[in-house]
């Protein structure tokens, strides 16, 4: 054993593990060095440093009953535990805990799809169910439902929703937390609780109405450490007949302001109901070779002048907005016609091209022909097809001749407006220039995946050999977090190494929110055994000295 839970002697820890072994079986307790290696976060920016967050053991229960018994043992001995679903939240954290020495409760074996309701359009899943698993089961049943998946299909449907992950299909389904309906949770004392309608025994609408009666507590279990979620309902979309993609191009940098304003109105009416993609032919895509001139221009103090920006365009259109509309061909044709009329009213010089109309479902050939990593184009995830293509980013290729050993994401949310894009491009170009970091793109670009906001997301790459590079990456993101907060932009999700820092920026009313959550934490998990430190929430015995 390489690391003990804090406060435990090796003998005491072995005695607790023996108790747990009687519950889950010795086969499902992992303490050997080679096994603990697999509980490290492969994308940790603290890799191989004294600060790396490490598990003392992995424990893998197979059922809610086993999990309850394990939690009761942990509570009795005040053993810190840290649950994972599939452990594939890479870029935002892997299978490793926030608090070194915690025992990882690995829920991958709890992988049953308990229900898929064809007519009410939902599934009920356990934590170990991946997007691949749910997709395959839907196909096997000949079901006519779609999943909405994030980029990597091996993630947990339940875990991703709890993390407030996002997908790529219809506006109603991309916010995975927003699409959840009903939780079952094992609490710190080992009790099982169901939320929403599920609190009523024999509930008939647990996966239909998320609210139940009285105060709503589901949010405590999202990016939280108040319980271990063992079941979750997720809404599924009835497979659409088709998808239409159209492009709107504008030539001036500041055209982004009316472009986004009109987009917002059309999305609010669901005239545009797929993922809108904003790209810039002038700035290039996310895996473009570095062009420091672009970053320098965008970093101009007070913002670059219109003249300088337009001279740089050299005749290229500044922005391309690609909009997606799901539905039967006649409906999407009418929507596209209306969308063009609306954009013409505010941008008379805009040009339009209708690129593609997809008849669904896609054939295997049509799936293989989809774009791979061109984020401006329809990809497998646009059609709810789970895959791992996104890992091309960072894998060895002419764009990345030295492959990375992973990355962490910097993911601030900014307003869905052209003014905010202009401001954010200026602020982040200046910051990245100061830090000398290439993030895989020449300009911070707005991702529209979160409905009603933009995510100015970019990766910072890591190495298992060059620990100085990782130190620099972490320092860069630390700096970016501060700069973002000064502008009123906060991160939506982050790796454990960044969570204290980020929670610290949500400090309205002298940290009123964090203090409120901490009071709740102390009440329902008084010994602080559950996921200590998750998202900056520490139990009272570990709070001091961390601020």
């Amino acid at each position: 054993m390489t690391i003990m839970p804090p406060g435990f002697t090796e003998g005491a820890f072995r005695a607790v593990l023996a108790e747990i072994s009687a519950i889950v079986g010795q086969e499902w307790i992992f303490t050997a060095e080679e096994d603990l290696y697999t509980y490290r976060d492969s994308y940790s920016p603290l890799w191989d440093t004294p600060d790396e967050r490490l598990a003392s053991a992995g424990v893998a229960p197979a059922s809610v009953e086993e999990l309850q018994a394990v939690v009761k043992v942990a509570a009795k001995h005040r053993l810190p535990i840290y649950p994972i679903s599939t452990g594939k939240n890479l870029g935002y954290g892997g299978a490793a805990p926030n608090y070194s020495g915690s025992v990882v409760i690995d829920l991958k074996r709890m992988n049953r799809i308990l229900e898929i309701d064809e007519t009410r359009c939902f599934a009920l899943v356990e934590p170990g169910v991946s997007y691949f698993d749910l997709y395959n089961e839907i196909q096997k049943r000949g079901s006519n439902l779609w999943i909405d998946c994030p980029e990597p299909g091996w993630g947990s449907v339940l875990g991703n929703a709890l993390e407030r992950g996002i997908g790529y299909t219809h506006t109603n389904y991309r916010d995975h937390w927003g699409a959840h309906c009903g939780l079952e949770v094992v609490l710190a004392n080992g009790e099982v609780m169901r939320t929403g309608m599920g609190a009523m025994p024999g509930a008939q609408t647990w996966q239909d109405n998320p609210y139940g009666f009285g105060p709503l507590v589901d949010g405590l279990f999202s990016q939280g450490n108040f319980g271990i979620v063992t079941k979750m309902g997720i809404r599924l979309m009835a497979a659409p007949e088709g998808l239409r993609a159209g492009n709107i191009q504008v030539s001036r940098y500041r055209d982004i302001i009316p472009l986004v304003a009109k987009l917002n109105h059309l999305e609010s009416q669901t005239m545009i109901d797929g993922l809108p993609q904003i790209t810039s032919p002038v700035f290039g895509g996310i895996v473009e070779p570095p062009n420091p001139e672009i970053t320098k221009l965008l970093a101009t103090a007070g913002g670059a002048s219109d003249e300088a920006l337009e001279a740089f365009a050299n005749g290229k259109p500044y922005w391309n907005l690609r909009v997606l509309m799901y539905g039967p061909e006649t409906v999407t044709a009418a929507k596209w016609e209306y969308v063009q009329t609306q954009f013409r009213q505010v941008l008379p010089e805009a040009t339009f091209s209708e690129s593609t109309t997809y008849k669904l479902p896609l054939s295997a050939e049509a799936q293989e022909a989809l774009s791979i990593i061109d984020l401006a184009m329809e990809r497998k995830v646009t059609f709810g097809l789970p895959n791992l293509g996104i890992f091309l980013m960072g894998a060895r290729s002419p764009v990345f001749p030295t492959p990375s050993d992973g990355h962490i994401w910097f993911s601030p949310i900014i307003p869905r407006s052209g003014e905010a894009i202009i401001k954010a491009q200026n602020v982040f170009a200046k910051a990245l220039l100061e830090k000398g970091v290439f993030t895989g793109g020449n300009a911070a670009m707005p991702a529209s995946i979160i409905p009603r906001c933009f995510l100015m997301i970019f990766p910072v790459f890591l190495s298992h050999d060059d620990l100085e590079q990782n130190k620099h990456a972490l320092a860069t993101i630390d700096y970016l977090i501060e700069i973002a907060a000064q502008n009123g932009w906060g991160e939506y999700r982050a790796a454990p190494a960044l969570q204290d820092k980020i929670m610290g920026t949500y400090d309205f009313g002298e940290h009123a929110l964090r203090r409120f959550i901490e009071r709740l934490k102390d009440a329902v998990d008084p010994d602080g055994i559950l996921a200590a430190g998750r998202c900056g929430i520490w139990p009272k015995n570990l709070r001091e000295g961390r601020r």
Binding site: W28, F30, E34, D35, Y37, T38, Y39, R40, S42, Y43, G58, A60, T86, G87, K88, L90, G94, A95, D106, K108, R109, G128, F132, G153, W154, T279, P281, G284, G285, V287, E288, P289, E368, L370, I372, I373, D374, A376, K380, N387, L388, G389, I390, F391, L392, G394, A395, R396, S397, P398, V399, P401, P403, S404, D405, G406, H407
Partner: protein, 119 residues
């Protein structure tokens, strides 16, 4: 996007469009193939969408086939090592994901298939 388009234009010529499977002849190999298809193929199949295949294409420049099941230089221990330790952006895989018996079957499937693919 020009650079990216060029990259994948080049790739189209390099990445094999199909992979040859030996018919699994034993229960162990059938099981190994199922594990391969679930855990390995999304990154290592013969497809431009497979990042592992793309990375190995550029790493070995045609010296060895970039598709795992077409390699002839992989022995079971090597396959097991990479599954448990990861490499580059490929993370390590836990025993709750691929159990030891699953990994034995997987390694045997890939290594056996590689031998049969040998000229």
């Amino acid at each position: 996007m020009k650079q990216l388009t060029m990259t994948f234009f080049v790739l189209m010529g390099l990445v094999p469009a199909t992979e040859s499977f030996a018919d699994p002849s034993t229960e162990q190999l059938v099981h190994g193939k199922a594990i391969y298809e679930h855990w390995c193929a999304p990154c290592h199949a013969a497809s431009q969408h497979a990042p592992g295949t793309v990375a190995l294409t550029f790493k070995y420049k045609r010296e060895v086939p970039p598709v795992l099941v077409m390699r002839q230089d992989l022995d079971p221990d090597m396959i097991k090592y990479f599954a448990r330790n990861g490499v580059s952006i490929m993370p390590s895989f836990r025993k709750t994901e691929i159990s030891d018996p699953d990994l034995d079957a997987l390694a045997e499937f890939i290594a056996t298939n590689a031998k049969r693919s040998a000229p």
